[in-house]
C-alpha cells in the first residue's frame, strides 16, 4: 500500500504539469514584479535601477497605509460575514422542503459580472433617486446619508456590495461540504434525541472545519487584494476614503506612470498577504484534520 502510494513517478506525473504552469505564469510575474520594484520606471520607456528606494518609500507612504487599513477592514468584515453564510447553508442543507430551489435562487446574483453589480449598487446608493434613500425619505428621514460621497461612511457603504457579491461563492462551498457529510451520522444523532442546533453545532460544523478554515483564508486573501467594485463605484474616492491596496497600486502603475513604485507596492502586498495567511493557518491549525 505505502509503496504504491509513494511512487515518485506518479507523484511527479500528477503535480508537475500544474506546477510548471504556475511557475511560468505566476512565479515569473511575481519575480518580475519584485524586480520592477527596484526600478524607476514609467512602464513605458527605459528603466533605471534605484535599489530599494521604492520599497523604502512604501514604508512612509501614508496613502498606502491608509489603503492597507481599508483592505484589512474589508478582510475583517468578509470573515465576519462567513458566519452568516454558514448559517444560511446549514438551513439550506438541512431538511427543508424546497431547499433545492432556494439554493439555486440564492446563488443567482453570483452569476452577475462585476459590471452589472456595480451598476446595480450605484442605483441603490444614488443620493436622491436611489432605492436606499427613497426608502429612508419615505419613512420620514430628512437628510439620508450620501452613501458614496460622505468620506466617513463610503468605505462601509462599499463593503456591503462586495460582501454580498461573494455570498453565492461561500454558500455554494459550504452547501457542498454539508451535503458531503454522510446521512447516517445525522440519523444516528436524531435517534439519540439531538436537536437540529445540537446536530449542526456538535456534528456538522466540526466535520466541515477543514473547509471553514479554507474559506477563512480565501476571504482574507480575496479581501486584501480586492479591486473590482471599488474601482468602478468610487474609484477609491472621495480623496482616498475608499482606496484599497490593489486600487492604489493600479493607479500608480497605470495612471500616474509610476510603474516601478506600483510594482513595489504589488510585491509588498504579496508579502503582507503571505504573512497574514501564514498567521491564520497557524492560528487555526488543529492537531489533526478531522476524519470520519
Amino acid at each position: 500500500m505505502n509503496k504504491i502510494m509513494s511512487d515518485k513517478r506518479i507523484i511527479a506525473m500528477y503535480t508537475l504539469p500544474a506546477l510548471l504552469l504556475i511557475l511560468t505564469l505566476i512565479y515569473v510575474p511575481i519575480v518580475m514584479t519584485g524586480y520592477y520594484g527596484l526600478m524607476d520606471w514609467d512602464g513605458i520607456g527605459a528603466m533605471t535601477f534605484i535599489g530599494l528606494e521604492n520599497y523604502a518609500a512604501v514604508m512612509t507612504d501614508g496613502a498606502f497605509w491608509s489603503s492597507a487599513w481599508h483592505s484589512f477592514l474589508l478582510a475583517l468584515f468578509s470573515v465576519g460575514s462567513l458566519v452568516l453564510y454558514l448559517g444560511v447553508s446549514l438551513v439550506l442543507a438541512g431538511n427543508v422542503k424546497g431547499a433545492d430551489l432556494f439554493r439555486k435562487i440564492y446563488l443567482i446574483p453570483m452569476l452577475l459580472s462585476s459590471v452589472a453589480i456595480a451598476q446595480l449598487w450605484m442605483r441603490v446608493y444614488h443620493p436622491t433617486n436611489g432605492v436606499m434613500n427613497r426608502f429612508l425619505t419615505s419613512i420620514g428621514i430628512e437628510n439620508p446619508p450620501l452613501w458614496l460621497s460622505d468620506t466617513s461612511i463610503v468605505l462601509f457603504a462599499i463593503f456591503i456590495p462586495i460582501i454580498w457579491q461573494y455570498a453565492g461563492f461561500y454558500i455554494i462551498i459550504y452547501y457542498a461540504a454539508l451535503k458531503n457529510i454522510p446521512k447516517e451520522l445525522e440519523e444516528a444523532a436524531k435517534i439519540d434525541g439531538a436537536s437540529p442546533f445540537q446536530i449542526a453545532y456538535k456534528i456538522k460544523l466540526p466535520l466541515i472545519s477543514g473547509i471553514i478554515k479554507v474559506t477563512i483564508v480565501l476571504a482574507v486573501i480575496g479581501s486584501l487584494k480586492y479591486f473590482d467594485l471599488i474601482y468602478v463605484m468610487t474609484d477609491g474616492g472621495p480623496n482616498g476614503a475608499s482606496e484599497v491596496m490593489a486600487s492604489y497600486m493600479y493607479k500608480l502603475a497605470f495612471r500616474t506612470n509610476d510603474f516601478g513604485y506600483g510594482s513595489a507596492i504589488g510585491f509588498f502586498m504579496l508579502v503582507m498577504i503571505l504573512i497574514v495567511t501564514y498567521l491564520i493557518r497557524r492560528a487555526t491549525a488543529t492537531k489533526d484534520e478531522v476524519q470520519y
Binding site: I44, G45, P127, T128, D235, G237, N239, R255, N257
Partner: protein, 460 residues
Amino acid sequence: MKKKAFVPFMTLTTAALMLAACGGGGNDANETASADENNSNNTNANANNEAANNAAEDQEEVTIDFMHLWPQGSSPDHHRIVSDIIADFEAEHPHVTVELEVLENEQYKNKLQVVSSSNQLPDVGMTWPAGFLEPYVNGDMFTPLDDILEEDGLRDEFVAGTLEAYEVDGESYALPLELNIAPVFYNKAIFEEHGVEVPETYDEFLEVIDTLAEAGMPPIALGNRDRWTGSLWYMYLADRIGGSEALNSAIDRSGSFEDERLVEAAEKIQEMVDHDAFISGFNGLSDQEAKAEFMNGSAAMYLIGSWDLPNYTTNEEVPQEFRDSIDFFKFPEVDGGDGNVDNWVGGPGVGLFVSEESDVQEESKAFVKHFAQEWGKRSVEEAGVIPGTQVNTEEVDLPDLFVDVLDDLNNANDITLFADVQMSSSVAETHLNMIQSLFGGETTPEEFAETHEEALQEDE
C-alpha cells in the same frame, strides 16, 4: 523624480483662427475650393489611385495596425467615418491593408502602456496631449511628425495652438482629431420658470444659485467622482480671478500655487458649495450620473466640454423639447479679477501618433495625414466632433448651438488646457484628489494650495 510634463499651451489669436477658406474643404460638392491642394477630393483620389496602381506592382503588401477607442456600438458615426477613411486610403494605396483593434477608453489606455513596455505599439494609434503623451515620447515610442506637417502646408490646416499640446522639445508627436472648450450649459426653461437671467459676474451667479436653491431646484449638476469635472470649476475661477497666467505659471513653475489668487479661487469653490450650488452627493456621482440629472431637468446648469453638444442638438434619443431649451453661457467674470470672459478651459483631445518602431512608418505617416484631413472635413457635421483642423463654418450645415461654440472658439482670447492633462500624471493625481477634498470641505483653501505646491516642487 520625473521631469516636468508641462507643455506651454496655446494663445489662440483671433486672426490666426479666422475660419475662412483654409483648405480644409468640405464635401464632394465643393471641389473647386480645394482642388489645387492635394488634400484629396474625389478627383485627386482617383489620380492618386492610378499612380498608386502603377507603383503597386513592385510594392510589397504591407499592413498598418491601427488601434482606436471608438467602438461601433457606442460611436456609430465615428466608426463609420473611420471605416470610410480607411477604405479610401486602401483604395489609394492598394498595397496597404489597415488592421483595426478597438478598445474602450480605460482598456485602451491600459493596453497602450502594456504593449509599450514590450515595444509592441501598433503602427498608428490614439494619444492624449501633454501629460499623457510625454512618457511615450521620452521612451522613444512615438515618432515626430514634423516632416509630414511641413508637406503641403499641413501644419496650417490645424487650429493655431492645437499642435503645440502634442509637442515635446519643439517636435510634434501627434495630429489632433478633437478640440473642445467647456461652456456652462443651462436650461432656459428652468431659468425662465424661476425668473433668473444669465449671470455676467460671479456675484450675479451666486444670486442665481441662491434663487434656484431656495426654490428647491438643484442649480448645478456635477459628477465629481470623476474629479476632472470639479477641476473645470476650479480652473475657471482661477482664470477669472488671476487670468490664465496665474494657474499656468504655477504649473510651469515660473510662479507658485500658493499665489493668493489661486487660494481665492479655492475659497470661492467652497463658497459655492456652501450656497448649495451643486447637486446632492456630487462627490460620489459619476459625470454620467450628473449629466442624467441635467438632462432630466433636475438641475439647471452643467459645465462640460463641447463634446457634449450632440446631446443638446442632434441626438434623436433626447426629447426635442429638452434640446430646444438648452443654451450655454461663458463663465461669469469675477469683480476685480484679471480674467477675460473670452478665456476658456479646454483643448485638444485625442490625436494620432505613429510608432517609432513601426516597420511601415512611411505608409503610417501617409495614413495619419490622410486621416486627419479627411476626419476634419466630416467629423463635425457627421459625428458632432469639433476636429483639430480648421472648420469652414460656411461650408458645413450645423445646428445653431454648434455654430455659436465654433464662433466662441474663434473669438477665444486664450484657452487653458485642462489642468489634469497639462500636469504630469502624478501631479494630476494629487490635483484631482485635492479637488474632491476641496469640494467636500475636507481641506482648507490654504492646504489645497500648499499640497499642490509640494507636489509640483517634488515633480520638478
